[in-house]
Amino acid sequence: METLLYLVFGLVALVGGVLVIVNRNPVYSALSLVLTMFAVSALYILQQAYFVAAVQIVVYAGAIVVLFLFVIMLLNLGDQGNLPAASGTRRFVGALLGVTFAGIVGAVVWEYASTAGPAAAAAGDIDHTKSLARVLFQNYLLPFEVVSIVLLAALVGVLALIRTHGRGLDSSEADNV
């Protein structure tokens, strides 16, 4: 029964991933991405990683995809956004590399999955949010602080990128005031 759920949500995730690539319209791609995020989140819940599943929905579906949609609608591309996928040769080379890559990764996964066996170790209490926080704030405190600095750097970087070299208000908008 549980294996069936794994299969169903895994298939939904893959269908969403295919739709991201196949859709011409970037808005539909973003919505397919949400589908994939929710299916992956369901796989987390099946593996009893409840907090990660909640964060997945909040951060990915709630923040990142909304940011994508915001930029798509801000640029207001219209038909210009519906680019055809690629030229024939590039599509062929992409598919070839994709199949090769799938073969390599699939072989590694097959090797690991067949040797490791079903030795799911004491899965009872590993996933309490409390134990997660204990590990995060004791063993991984330094990486946690470094990540906060990375986020600050990203914030500053975005402001530096978007800034229009001092002519934010003076030239164009000063006329309107």
Binding site: L14, P26, L67, F68, Q80, A102, A113, A120, D127, L136
Partner: protein, 100 residues
Amino acid sequence: MSDFAICLAVSAALFTLGVVGVLVKRNAIVVFMCIELMLNAANLAFVTFSRQHGTVDGQIFVFFVMAIAAAEVAIGLSIIVTVFRNRASINVDDVTMLRR
């Protein structure tokens, strides 16, 4: 086929889909979405192995990956907006200045 193997296979397939998307698509925003797809595949593998080994360390790494992904998306989208301002296009084939 065990649940463990299913999750790993889904993770590998999602990663491959992301690679193919980055190679094939020309809309820069969709290329970014495919990068998110790859990050999600890695996260799924992290959680799967974490469950298999009975530790939470893999789930901690998922948080770090998510934080970096959020920073990366913010920077990447602002680069796309800047390119669109200068070129009036988000086709990745139009931005080839570094190749020459």
